[in-house]
């Protein structure tokens, strides 16, 4: 065996991965070749020197507790999996397309017949053609091909009008809402939430030094049982809390309204966790000035596995939500955390410019 062949086999020889026959031949060559023997010594040296800097005993002392803390919170908190929509691509597409088609048909009906007969009392202002489609219960869905009476159509349009979310003027009020997120808000009236937005992965905001509020309501227990109601979760939170959280549940149900009604086994599906993302829910609630509930949803959002940019913006948004509840010290803590984790954060810079106005409004 010559030097060239030996050196080809030297790595495997060094690692003890060479079969016995090859090993014997390499050993024989090494006995008579100081150059190859030196190369073998180099391999041993570099392996011995190779290492990973050890973070030290204090780090390891805390390591398990940090993992277990996150695991415990996962067990008590929302699970990413349950927030993902069930069904395949087609079903997910139908969640958008069916209500959109129904809403389009209703727009035609309203444009054609609107104002010709007195409408029922209540909120009106049916959606304009350029507005996003509103969620429509399956029982009220019609296509143009289906014959129906004018009275039925009128009642239907009124029902839809009641479901149309208020104009999204509020979006301008949130300093941390980006253009993309505004677009998302504009789409929020579509049922079942943004499917892609819920596909994020999870890292809990473990290091945030802010007391965590009660867990959110739209979650399934680890054993897969149906999600707890708001009242269950807020059992110790007083009547007001109960009402608020029940409201959040209602909103989640509203968001998945089409999915529920569409199910063949209505009641069972109605208890399934919402496919909507807590991140979206937080925006929706904030838009409606339900900041406490929005904060809860935003924390659930941050407990998911978010890409760093989303986490950065999410934390800044959480700070804003706290500011809007006049919980400025807690907002400061979140901002400090953003500074620590995302030095020179642009979302934070932007919010800082708006923050005095936000705070002034709450004082």
């Amino acid at each position: 065996m010559d030097c060239r062949e030996t050196q080809t086999l030297l790595t495997a020889f060094h690692d003890g991965e060479l079969p016995a026959a090859g090993r014997a031949r390499v050993e024989e060559h090494l006995r008579g070749c100081s150059g190859c023997a030196a190369m073998l010594a180099d391999l041993a040296w570099v392996d011995q020197a190779a290492g990973v800097p050890d973070p030290g005993p204090a780090y390891w002392d805390r390591f398990n507790a940090r993992v277990m803390d996150r695991v415990e919170r996962e067990a008590d908190g929302p699970r990413v999996a349950v927030l993902r929509p069930k069904g395949g691509w087609m079903r997910q597409q139908l969640r958008y397309l069916v209500p959109a088609a129904a809403a389009a048909a209703l727009v035609v009906v309203v444009v054609r017949y609107g104002g010709m007969t007195p409408g029922p009392p209540g909120p009106t202002a049916p959606p304009a053609a350029s507005e996003p489609a509103a969620p429509v219960p399956a029982g009220q869905r019609r296509t143009k091909a289906e014959p129906e009476s004018r009275a039925t159509k009128k009642a239907e349009s009124a029902a839809v009008a009641r479901r149309v979310p208020p104009p999204i003027l509020a979006k301008e009020r949130f300093a941390t809402v980006t253009r993309e997120e505004r677009d998302l808000m504009a789409d929020r009236s579509l049922p079942a939430g943004n499917v892609e937005a819920s596909r994020d992965r999870a890292t809990a905001p473990a290091a945030i030094g802010v007391p965590s509020p009660p867990t959110t309501t739209y979650q399934r227990a680890p054993d897969g049982s149906p999600p707890a109601t708001g009242a269950d979760e807020m059992a110790s939170g007083g009547q007001a809390g109960r009402k608020r959280m029940t409201g959040a549940s209602a909103l989640m149900e509203e968001q998945q309204g089409a999915g529920k009604a569409k199910s063949a086994s209505g009641m069972r599906i109605a208890k399934e966790p919402s496919p909507g993302s807590p991140c979206e829910l937080a925006r929706t609630l904030a838009e409606r000035e339900r900041f406490r509930e929005a904060e809860v949803a935003q924390r659930a959002c941050l407990a998911e596995d978010l890409p760093a940019p989303s986490r950065e913006k999410g934390l800044v948004f959480l700070a804003e939500l706290l500011d809007r509840q006049a919980r400025f010290a807690e907002a400061d803590a979140v901002i400090t955390e953003v500074e620590r984790r995302f030095p020179q954060s642009r979302p934070l810079d932007l919010y800082r410019q708006q923050r005095p106005m936000v705070q002034k409004r709450q004082e």
Partner: protein, 186 residues
């Protein structure tokens, strides 16, 4: 780790943890945390990201336990999750951030025999850590799994999902680069 869990195999502990036994999961974390941290470090090249990734890896493992098949070896499954976590930490918005040199380990343990020896040892460790951090992630991974964890080529092949021949060639390249970076080599 409680004494009765000490002797249990990983696969048994994983099955217990999947059934809700937190002590069993805690035992798994204790048993593998250092190896997983090192693997995550090899994926990220710095301590802060390695910490994030290692924590995330165990949380993901816990979350995935219900789908884990105890008939399969636990180690490669765990390492695969950890490696993906390490890579995703880099993908998650850190692409433009230069890698921090290996000497950034928090609270690095340094039982120092004397000031001069300690300084010398620290310097050598720092140079090596920098050289390791300077390797491409795929080379660093095989290097850590082999030289630090002592895995066989077959085990590395499973963990990295690459052929054994690739393991060998990557190890060879990694060692050459390290020798060059450290000024050694024949």
């Amino acid at each position: 780790m409680s004494a009765d869990l000490d002797g249990e195999k990983d696969e048994r502990l994983a099955a217990l943890a999947a059934g809700g036994d937190r002590d069993a999961f805690n035992a798994l974390v204790t048993r593998h945390r250092q190896a997983i941290y090192r693997l995550c470090w090899s994926a990220t090249g710095n301590a802060a990201d390695a910490d994030d990734a290692a924590q995330e890896a165990f949380v993901r493992v816990y979350r995935s336990l219900p789908s884990y098949d105890p008939a399969r070896p636990f180690g490669p499954w765990l390492r695969k999750i950890a490696w993906n976590c390490g890579l995703s930490v880099r993908r998650d918005g850190k692409a433009g951030v230069p890698r921090i040199a290996g000497g950034d380990a928090p609270e690095a343990a340094d039982p120092s025999p004397g000031p001069e020896e300690a300084a010398e040892g620290n310097e050598e460790r720092r140079r090596m850590a920098d050289a390791m951090a300077g390797l491409p992630a795929e080379l660093r991974m095989v290097m850590v799994l082999r030289a630090v964890e002592g895995l066989s080529y077959g085990e590395i092949s499973l963990a990295a999902e690459i052929p054994v021949g690739t393991v060998m060639s990557r190890l060879s390249r990694a060692r050459k680069r390290l020798l060059t970076a450290l000024g050694g080599g024949s």
